[in-house]
Amino acid sequence: MSSSANPLREGLTMRPQPKPCTVVIFGATGDLTMRKLLPALYNLAADGDLPPSTAIVGFARREKTDDVFRQEMETAVRKFSRQTVRDELWNSFVQGISYHQSEFTDDDGYRRLAERLDQIDAERGTGGRRLFYLSVAPAQFGEIVERLKKYNLHVGKDGGWARVIVEKPFGTNLPTAEALNNEIAGTFPESAVYRIDHFLGKETAQNIMVLRFANAIFEPIWNNRYIDHVQITAGETLGVENRAGYYETSGALRDMIQNHLIQLMTLTAMEPPTSLHADAVRDEKVKVLRALRRMNSPAEVTANVIRGQYAAGAIMGKEVPAYRNDANVNPQSMTETYVGMRIFVDNWRWAGVPFYVRSGKRLPKSGAEIAVQFKRAPSVLFNQGGGDSSNNLVIRIQPDEGISMRMQAKLPGGALRIEPVKMDFQYGASFGRPSPEAYERLILDAMGGDATLFARRDEVEEAWKFVDPILDAWHGPAADQPPLTFYPAGSPGPVEADQLLAADGREWRRI
């Protein structure tokens, strides 16, 4: 027993529990910390998935004591946690929370942080393992990581490790993404960088690979011989709410398509990876991104991408204003709140199969799904009367996570009448336990060193290479600009988006 490993942990649980570490949250007084990060950490602790000696250090500019910070976090966790907070468990959990006041650009703050982390290692057994969570604006990434390096916090201590989690947006285009990545790469190796995309932490997104590669029946038909097209949708009934400042500079393409929906698309379209190792999976995703057909002119963008903005309308019986009339939105704003687009993956498997991707605000329903539409059976025997006789497989990402398959069945009775029926698998029905929140899974993965569900640098940059020409067209010379279309709030999107699919003889699934 000369090893320093804890022998009592061996074989203890099938759930992979990472080694204890210190989580340092930059921007600890921000909304994300209170709504998502601390509740996620508490839930992990309450479920026994977080090593109890894990320490949390909130790093932010405002002056406050440990006790005040802990009280604020308690209020937030009690409000936003998915499970009821128990006093006894909170009292244990809170012992590991402390606050570190410093400007992000104050060298002395980092020197003191280094001392504090050493002290925590000695007291709590966090073993020189540090997870830095940058819950700050991208403009601050550089100044933070640079100082982490200056005070030698970018490497683990005493055999530990140092990792950094960064939140989207990962740039606003390819040059800014490259600049951000370069700043981070100047301090942390790529293997220590975890770019979080919370869509990938959702149970159903993780299940895409299981569905495809753990079931022998799907992969043989997962190609252009059998699949007619794929639709990927993420819609929400909400408008921009209090995010107008961010959204005005972002828009739906940057906010949803470039990251979340293209990530879902890569999982749907990728080849089987050679292993479940993070890089094996991400290599395959990158190959899909490289195969996306680029739109090289405003005319190609106009032909394949519809951008829309919601006008006044009504949702669930309530009238809502137009985007341009929302608080803090420019009354002449050209920001898109809807994008519907046709994407081709130019490889052997997907040649000729369009991926229709759309995302919008103020749509009639909120939800995200991937719908794989199979080709029709030959029009002999049963399918001569027209109608949609094709099969589809729908993977529901949120809400009501599950998978359903539509097929044809004979209506009982003497007449030969065929009707579509649906086979439905719901997570909530077959697995009663609620799925952990995406942030819980992702933080735990980062602590455990599993980057599979995080975006790698080349993934992010390849996605920008695909998206940038679209942005260039939208922001190019006015004469060439593809038009901004308008749709009433509460409608499924602009009619032009419907026409995009109608021109291909297809239609959007009803949201």
Partner: protein, 361 residues
């Protein structure tokens, strides 16, 4: 679960069903449903019991369990002392609202009562195999003592053999049966001892002490282990001793004295570790204390009416640390749910069992 959305037929002991027409009765049950419900199933769970009133008790457990684990439940109750020689059956369903909304999902339950000469364990498989949900794994929860001779067909089809060693009158012989079953290469039945599940969080909570380097160093100098257990928790304590001995590479415990509660294990290098088991009223395991020769003490306690563990450590030269954790549940439905949620071949359990095989009597 909202009872208001569930039809009365789906409650109580179930609807009597004629043997041989059970599928028909199940179908009728669905047709009588006045609300929309989805049948959900991802496993077959067969529960065998020879205890009185087991159908009612197990129905209550299944009602809770099926919230988390939808499946086809087959309850088999044997009442050998009944003056009647007969076989009766009931069908039932456990319906719950899904977390996502108002949709109900239902798990089917079939209950058999074997009485008199019909209460023969050899007949169990004939009932089970006629009513399994095809293509789904079979988990068998055998309540009470395991039979010396299992029905081979039933055992061969079982993917998890669940039992609770805390209920056994003769643990030594029973554990030998478990080890024999686990050692058979022709069987896939993984042993699932609810008595081991009962202390899974306890082991995790205790292990966390030693993530801290100073505490980890004390593990190499342990010279005493105390385990306080209830009268029902003796095998739980013995299994925990096996876990410590295996993980810390101690030799097998040897009895010390005549009380049957004191043992000595040899650490690597030959230093003895004194082990004392003590019976106390309260939780299955109410206190675990590990002491080292240089004065470090690690204690986990659970009071009788608490659902929390409290851990406290005194490491020489460091401050005392106290923490609380959600304790293992002793509710049968929770234990079973936890057991069904776990995968793996139970190697740590089998190694612990082997370590204490000499003192199980």
């Amino acid at each position: 679960m909202s009872t208001a959305t569930i039809t009365p037929a789906f409650f109580g002991d179930g609807i009597p069903a004629e043997i041989g027409k059970i599928d028909k009765e199940l179908k009728k049950l669905w047709q009588e449903q006045s609300t929309v419900a989805t049948r959900a199933s991802r496993l077959n769970l067969v529960v065998y019991s020879a205890a009185d009133s087991s159908i009612r008790a197990n129905t209550a457990i299944m009602r809770e369990l099926t919230r988390d684990h939808a499946g086809r439940v087959i309850l088999v109750a044997a009442r050998a002392k009944s003056p009647e020689n007969r076989l009766r059956a009931w069908v039932n369903a456990h319906c719950h609202l899904t977390k996502a909304g108002a949709k109900q999902t239902c798990s089917e339950q079939i209950a058999f009562l074997m009485e008199g000469t019909s209460a023969n364990t050899r007949l169990v498989s004939s009932l089970v195999f006629s009513h399994l949900d095809s293509d789904l794994p079979l988990y068998l929860w055998w309540q009470g003592e395991l039979p010396a001779e299992f029905d081979e067909r039933l055992l061969g089809a079982t993917e998890r053999l669940i039992f609770d060693s805390s209920t056994w009158a003769n643990p030594k012989a029973q554990f030998e049966l478990v080890r024999a079953i686990a050692a058979r290469p022709d069987l896939d039945a993984i042993p699932g001892d609810l008595n081991w599940t009962r202390c899974s969080t306890l082991r995790l909570s205790f292990a966390q002490f030693f993530d801290v380097p100073s505490a980890r160093a004390a593990l190499d100098k342990v010279d005493r282990l105390d385990l306080e257990h209830s009268s029902q928790g003796r095998t739980t304590a013995v299994l925990l001793l096996g876990w410590f001995a295996d993980a810390l590479k101690w030799g097998a415990p040897e009895p010390s004295g005549t009380s049957g509660q004191e043992f000595v294990c040899q650490r690597e290098g030959g230093t003895p570790v004194r082990v004392v088991l003590a019976r106390k009223s309260g939780a299955f395991i109410s206190r675990v204390t590990l002491r080292s020769s240089e004065g470090s003490v690690f204690t986990l306690t659970r009071s009788a009416d608490s659902d929390l563990y409290t851990t406290q450590s005194f490491v020489a030269g460091a401050d005392s640390v106290e923490q609380s954790f959600q304790a293992d549940s002793h509710e049968p439905s929770h234990l079973l749910s936890e057991e069904l949620s776990r995968g793996g071949a139970r190697r740590a359990y089998l190694r612990a069992l082997e370590k204490v095989s000499g003192i199980l009597g």
